[in-house]
Every structure is written in C-alpha cells, then in structure tokens.
Subunit: 318 residues, 4 copies
C-alpha cells in the first residue's frame, strides 16, 4: 500500500521537482497540493503547481488547494531574482485552466488528517504559514499526522536568504517557530542541501542532453538559478532542497545520519529573523524534538533524481 | 431592524456584563458567542459564557462556539487573581450542561460574515486570537464586517497587566497587531475604562441592595475584583471595560469624543509586549486608521448599566 | 554655603534657561558644564553653552568640557526642527571664542566627585551618554555623588520624540538604562513638563515685552519652539523641561508630590526604543529606586523663572 | 625593532598562553596587559595575568591595568565550569603580591595610542568592554592604532557559549558591536579555533611529558578544559583561541587564507545575543570591513606553541 502524502508548497523551481518526485513515485499517493505564500507571486505559484502536476499526468488526481497569501504576522518579499521571474526560470508562465479545488488549504490539511488519523504525511517545502494555521486550528495535529518533513532552516551554517536565515524560515518565522514547537519534524536544512543536494555542471550535463519532457522542464527551470549561483557563490550549480526533503520521505534509507535536537526559530524582526537555533551540543535547556538529517546517501539521491528526469520513475533503481 | 452582532470573549467577570448587555438589548441581535483563550482556563470561560446566556434566557438562541485555546505565537498566563478563581469571583463555577455549537469559532466568524456581507458587527472583548485567525483565513474580513469594536490597549497610559500593556493585547500581541493592521477598529481602551468605565463603592451600593438576579450576579462576580482593586489601586471600585465597549456599539451616542489615529502593537517579548502605540500627535509615518474613543457620556452609560441590572433592560432610558 | 552642581547638557533652547538658572542662583555653585550629543550638532551645543554662560557673566568661572559626540551604542538624529537650526531658534549662531576646558567631560565628572565625595550634585538635562560612561569608569559614582537630577522619560504618557519615548531617553536608551539602574535618580519627566512646565501665550507676554537681556534671549530661543508647538500640539506655548529639573534641584520645596518607583528603560531598537517603564502600581518585581516628581508648585516655579528673566535672580522671591 | 602590543584579556586558561606567547617573543614588545570582565571573577583574572607574567619573568616590565568589571550594558555570567574554578584549572589560585598599575585600563589604552600614533597594536582576547569604552573615549582610536586583533565570534558556525554565540561576543554584545563598527579588526573566530586551533590527546602528550615550567603550567590549566571538552564535545582536546589570535599578530605568515567581510553583532537579549553576522556571500548592504582569518598554517602554529612550552621561545623555528 502506498503512503499518503500532502505537499505544502510555494511552487517555484525546486518545488516542481519535489512535486514530480511525489507524483511519479509509486510508493507515494499524493493526496493534494496546498499552496502557501513564498517564492513568487501567489497566483504564479498556483499555476506552477498545476502545470507540474499536468506534466506528470496527475492533474486530474491531485487537487490544488489555495492557502495563505501572506505570512502569519510579518511582511515578506518574493525571490524572483533567485528562481527567475514567475518562479520557473523567467520564460515560462503557465496558464493551465485547471481550476483550484474548493476550500482553503488549511481546512484541507485539517480535514484530511482528521478523516485518516495517523495515515497521512506532510511534506512542507515552503514557508510554514499554512501548517502553523492548521496547528492552531487543530491542536492535535501532531498526533493526527503520520510523518512531517520540513525543508527549512540553516543548521549552524550560513543561510541563503540572509546570513542568519534560510528563506522558508525567514518568510514566516512565527509559523516556523510554531511548527518546530508543536510537531515532530524531520528537518532537511539548507546546509545539507549545499553539502549533498547540489548538482554541478558535470552532473547537469546528462539532463541537458536528454530529450525527455521532465529533463527539458528541469533545464528550463534551473537556467536562471544556475546563473544566480554563479554570481553569488561563484559556482555553476543548482540546489534541490525541496526534492531532497521529499526524497527522504519517499525513501527512508536515503538518510544515513540523523540526530534529534532542540530546535527553535527566532521570530523577531532584525538581523536574525528566521534564524534556526539548533542545539547540537545540548547547551540549552530545550527539549530535543526535531530529527535533523545530517547526511544522506548522495549517490542514491542523485540516481533517483536522474531516474525521474530521464525515465519518469524516481524509484526505478531502488 | 436590530443589528446583528457576534461577541468574541474570554468570559470572566466583566465579559459577562457585556454579554448580558447584548443579550438583553432589543436593538441588538446577538448571533453567537465565540470563546477565546484569555482570562481563565478555557473550559471555565466556556461555562461562564453559557451560564450568562442562560441567566439572560438566551441560551437557546445564542450558540457558543469554542475557539483558540492559546495565543497565536506566544505563551501566556491566566489572571484568576484579578477575577477570582474560575473568573466569576471565586465561588461560582457553573456547570450548565449546555452543549457547545459544532464547529470552530474562527469558522463561525468567517462563515457568518460571508453569508451576510456588511451586516454583522464584531465585538471583541478578549485577546484577539480568533479574530486574527479569521483575518488570515478570510483576507477580506474587513470588507465583510459591519462594525468592529475592540476592548484593548492602553492609550498612552499605564496598562493593567504590565506597566506597558493592557491584558488583551498582552496575551496575544501578534493577534492584536494583525487586527489593528487589517480591520477598521473602534477602540475602547483601558485608559477610557479607568476614566469613565469604573464604578465606585457609592455607585455600586444600589446594585448590592437590589434583589434582582442580574444585580445579584453582578455583586457576586465583582466581589473579588473590588478586593483586587483595593489592593492594587487603593480604591474600592470595579471597572467594566467589556460592557463599555459593547455599550458603545449598542448606543453610538454614548461616544462624545473619538479620533482616528495610527495604532500599532508591540508583538515582541520583553518589557513592552502588547504595548499599544497610539500616535495621537501624528509623529510617525503610520496611516491613521483606528477610531479611538476618548470620552463617553458617562452618566448615560451608567444609566444603561443600572437599567440592565435593576430592570433587565439596558435600553429602558434611551 | 552654596551647593556644588555639575550640569550635563545637550545645549539647545531649554537647556540655556536651565544653565542660566544655575549660573544666576546664589545658592548653587555651578562647577562646570559637560556637553553631550543630543539636540543639535555637537559644536553648536558647545557654543550655545558658552554663549549662555557669557550672558550670565559666568564664562570665566564655569569651564565647559566637551564629552560624547554620539550615543553609547545606537545611532541617533538631531532635532533642529524642534529648537530651530543650531538650537537657539534658528537665527542665533554664537561664536564666542571661549576655549573649551582641557580634558573629557566624563573624566571631569569622575574626577570632580572623587575629589569631593558626597558634595557635588549632577543635573542631567541631555541624553545620558556622559553619565553612563562615568558610571562605567567609576562604579562607585552613586556613592560619590550628592544628588542626581535627570530630565528624561515619559511616565506612562505619550512621549515627545516618538509616541513611546521622550527625546533624551530615545537618543541613548542604553545610557538611560544604565543610569536608572546604577544611580539614585530624581526624575523630572516629559509628562510633568507638559502638566506644569509649559508657558502659554499669556504667560509669555511679559517676557516679550520686557527689555532685559535674559528676556530677549528667551524670546529669541523660544520663537521657533512656539511655532513647532502650534503645529504639533495646536497650542502656542513653550515647554521648559530642563529648567524645571534644575529648579527642583535648586529649590527642593518646589516638589509637592513625589513617589519612588521601579523605572526601567527599553534599550532595544524598534517602536519602543527609549520607552521608560515606570511601575507606578508595583506590578513588576523591580525594586523601587527612582524618585519620580509627580507635581510641583507651579506658581513658584514660574515666579522663579520670571524673576530670572526680568531681574536676573531666580531666587529673588524665595 | 620589535612591535609594540597591548593585550586586553579576561585572563583564564587560554589567555595565559596568549600572554606567554607575547611575553616570550622577541619580535613583540608587550607594553601592558589590561584586564576586562569575562571568564572568571575579576580579581582572579588580575592575579592570573600577573602570575603568568611572573612565570615569563616579565612582571617587572609589563604593567597590569585593571579595567571594566562588568559589560557595558548587559548582565553576564562567568564560565568557571569551562576553565575550572578561578580560571586556571581549578587547583591553582595565584596570590602574587604584584601591585596593579595606577590608572584605569581604558585610559591606558587611550593614552598609549595617543602618545605613539600608529605604533601600537591591540590584541583583544576577552570581551570587548574596555576597547569599546576606549573607542567612545577617543573616537579616533582606529587611526591611532596599528593593528587590531580580536578573538571572538563564531563565523557561520555553532558558538561555544550558546548555539548562536561565542563567549566574548556573548558577554558584551554591545561592546562587540561597537568594536566591529569602529575598528579595522582582524578576526580569529571560534570556528577557526575548532578547525585549526585545537590540540588533541596525541598532540598534548609531549607537553605532559616535558619537564619545563611552561609545559607544566599548560598541563595544569588545560586539565579541567580537557574534561569539559570530553563531556560536551566527546573528544579529549583543548582549544587555544587566544594564543591563535596572538600568534597571527606575531607571525603574519601564519595566515594562509583571509577575506574581508561585513560583520555585525546582535546586541539584543534573547536567543541570538552575541551572534556574529558575517556576510560571506555579500547578501546584505553592509560595507566589508573586518578581515576574517579563514585558514592558518596549522603546523607552524603548533610548532610555535611547542617551542614556547618546551623551549620558552615561540619564535625558535621561525
Ligand atoms: Ca519551496
Ligand atoms: Ca474580556
Ligand atoms: Ca536638554
Ligand atoms: Ca580570553
């Protein structure tokens, strides 16, 4: 029996690959996408999600629920400069005509887990506004969920949005704080992404040369991000944080090292907005609760990714 | 035609009188009570609300919806020491057997205003968690509401919970910030309450001597609060902030002075958590939006209050 | 024997009158002025101070020490828009050729009190940077001083620089926090100034009509401030916070009501920078230490002020 | 001609080795030590410093000036649990009878650089209170100094005092912020220390077996720290951040990689007190000013250290 999964996403470049991974994997039943404010203008995110589902031939089966169009408390800014205008590289602006599902994303999350307690997992690959609202709407959310995977935070390393913070946590630090406090999270952070979730020019070449729709799509959406990476980091590469998180959910054996730590989020405005405190040394009084993925089987992850792009089946070599 | 009103309340002492005011006034149709975390333990608040409705013979007509059992982001503490244990003076613990309505308070607020755009007013006499969640759930909430009245804040004066903050804003400063930013609020603050919404021993004597169920109830719920006032402020008096707010909604002519100012709320932890910045001098760049009640017709308010307690009809002398 | 006093000042309009008060009073021996960053550009402040001493024929006896040209930690802004460009109304830019004394203001404060323990009082009528540095340089400063008078803070009322803060505390909130924590302060705040330290048009008329150098100077320096008051507060008046503080030091019987409270200062950036928490109700755990002046004999203060301007002798009617 | 150096230190374990390094090197003329609140009780720090100078036969030539006994603004706590009670391992409590020099540490720093502009370097191996006070006392301090070396901060890595902060920056974050803003700092951080400034059991063995006074002293002072490291980090090792900083000052060729970045310090209380923002990617608008040492010639550093302990001459192999 395949595992049931909800993906909460601010769909831009890397989110699309995570959605494809879930939509194309046999062992996962993707229940729905819920959209949250983050990477780019909300309406682009919604279209990006639908277009991606359509590409995977899953648009009929997987409804898209629109959720929070802004963070819980704070103001925020989009990052079109990272993903390209519109979020898919700057030249692709889908217009699918696929209708959104009726109802609010937060209600969908709450109702789904209430109907099937313990059976549905949540993959959170955007800011955590929807999920935090779901927790406040249903205080027992943690007990009702199977697994929770979050892409977010920068574990004792430099962030990607500010020096102190990763983007998802920065956008809605209040929501991130709530989620880390209330849910048993498996965390895939920006540091792990840089260490093991990046594809360099050599690794990207086969995808560029391939002539499959998934590989073409990937090449399109990463073009701008590679340029951005060259400018900022000085390397021609692209990172895939969101598919890394979904891949770990999909294939638990990917995770080779993980520890459970106390994690807190700085929700204050100022230089450390969205900072993720991860008490790796047990210095604070905080209770360890968050399982932080510290290393993965990188070869296997990249094999899954390649199998997805070239063969439409991420589980082909598992 | 009577005006439709929802009251969002953390029902303890002064909330009960506000509820009575609305339940007993002919010109208001009290649609529902929604309960929010605040004064005392949540389950006490729910029972206190039901008991009050029952006293007004309104329990069959006015459903009680349970809402947020904690603030949006921050931790908080109850204030049984102000209102007496349980919130009704310390000796009364209702057990009404009246069932709560199905559904969550936040959904009730959202659904009610969606069904009747512009027709329903909201009286917020507790921390603003439910209302903030409703705003995030329905971004057009402001347009969908008729009037919004909030009891909260301390307008450039000392607070009642900390020197810098009034209780409702202190409990959930994030929610208060959201509400002041997103809704066109009529604000009744703690300062106005102290100036014109307090009853001293002389004014209370007729209620103590009266032999009506409402007056008896009032004497019961204020006993502890009067002791608390004696200790903290050195005066034997009781303040009625919540009924002051509902009375202003009920009878617009009560308001003799009001100005519209920019209001912001400090949502940070620390010495100014819940501080209400009210820019009375127009020093900041903030856009004036909140109508702050600065003076009322105190005699008329107290007449309404007396008519309610002694005759069960707050509008008797209007 | 006259009492020895140091005045620490960010000399603009109202500071000049406080300096005159001390320089012209027989019962005070003004030891020195120390200049601190605040109202206007530092070099203007220095010249303003020297010019004022010269007007009082005291420039030979009272040395001027230059001190901190910026706050301890934070950035700040001048308020020429309040006092007029340069700080003396906008048309007077003294150039006295009087040299500053050798040495730093902080050293002067520390050395003076070390040489005469318990004999020298400090009147602080600017931001508290110099004084805070003196405390850190000499931890026993409190024991070494006679009295400390501070003009600063807004006691549970609206501020004059931001809605939450008075100017002196706003400029250097870290210093204000240090001073309130480490010294036994007599506090004259902005609220008292508004209630009892303001002169309206009627009260100012005799000074305008008088033909004395002090009255002329006063008319010059208040012209801009009166315009500013008209614009912001809608009243033609001028406030004299600094001379109010020095007058209280000079004539203790001016103070008719004073209470000792716990006072803290918010040193954080943000909407409450420089906020003065004054725990008038004893709600917090803070130890009461600061003597807050709550009421003065206003007639007597204004008589002193008038005697100073018209007769050059503030103590004439005492 | 040897270079003139002032060391500002909160003398406990690792500070002593830094002092020895400077006192025993021919190419450095150690002008004075200035003591600042930090590791352990202030009076222990003073004695520890004197004892160390005495061991190097330098007590007659190098005066010890006592400075700030507490941070600029915030409260702090000692870390005897790291260095052992008293700061030298827990069993050594020097009582040297050497008098402290007359005058305050801050004055000594200011006067020294004023007398010899551009000729004296400053090695800061404790919290930065004294140095910040010197900057505020002499705004041109940066121009008057030759080099400034600071041991402090945790450059995009976990801290040693809290997860977000290194000890020196945590103790006095306001001072650290001031120093990073006002001086051209060469920064040796906790991350570099962990990567290249730690000695493991194998490396320590020769020092334990040696029979020299310096090696004996080193063994004494590191005993407790090695235990602490075993408990917290799970490795038997000792870190030498302070001597790493002084060694880099002493021998510039130690530094093999260094970049100039914008560095800021979080001075707020809360989870990120003392956090060092280091903008390695140039994301912020901050002007790069701080030269961050990113790699050293570790072999050479350890050779210097060994030459010091075994032969009393850190420059023996240079
Ligand atoms: Ca994403
Ligand atoms: Ca209430
Ligand atoms: Ca002043
Ligand atoms: Ca040190």
């Amino acid at each position: 029996m395949s595992r049931r999964v909800l993906i909460d996403t601010d769909t831009a470049g890397d989110d699309t690959q995570a959605i494809l991974l879930a939509a194309l994997a046999d062992s996962i039943e993707l229940e729905a996408l819920t959209i949250v404010a983050g990477n780019v203008e909300f309406d682009y995110e919604v279209e990006n999600a639908k277009y991606t589902l359509d590409l995977a031939d899953a648009a009929d089966d997987v409804p898209v629920y629109e959720g929070s169009r802004r963070p819980l408390v704070k103001e925020f800014e989009h990052v079109d400069h990272v993903h390209g205008d519109g979020g898919l590289g700057g030249e692709l602006y889908p217009d699918t005509d696929i209708p959104s599902a009726d109802g609010h994303a937060v209600d969908k999350i709450v109702e789904t887990v209430r109907e099937s307690p313990g059976e549905v997992s949540l993959a959170c690959i955007g800011p955590l506004t929807n999920v935090a609202l779901a927790v406040r709407r249903e205080p027992k959310l943690n007990d009702l969920l199977d697994e929770v995977w979050v892409m977010g935070g920068a574990v004792n390393t430099i962030g990607n949005d500010t020096p102190s913070a990763e983007f998802n946590f920065w956008v809605d630090p209040d929501a991130a704080k709530i989620v880390m406090e209330e849910l048993d999270v498996n965390l895939v952070d920006w540091g792990l992404t840089l260490r093991q979730g990046a594809f360099d020019a050599d690794e990207l070449e086969p995808f560029e040369e391939a002539d499959t729709p998934y590989a073409d799509f990937f090449t399109t959406i990463t073009r701008h991000a590679r340029e951005f990476s060259k400018e900022r980091l000085g390397v021609d590469s692209t990172t895939q944080p969101d598919s890394l998180a979904v891949a770990c959910l999909l294939e638990p054996e990917l995770v080779t090292e993980a520890e459970t730590y106390f994690v807190d989020v700085d929700e204050r405005e100022g230089m450390t907005r969205g900072y993720s405190l991860v008490d790796e040394l047990g210095i604070t009084d905080g209770e360890p609760r968050t399982r932080v993925v510290e290393a993965i089987d990188e070869d296997r992850f990249k094999q899954m990714f390649s199998d997805m792009l070239l063969h439409g089946d991420p589980e082909r070599s598992l």
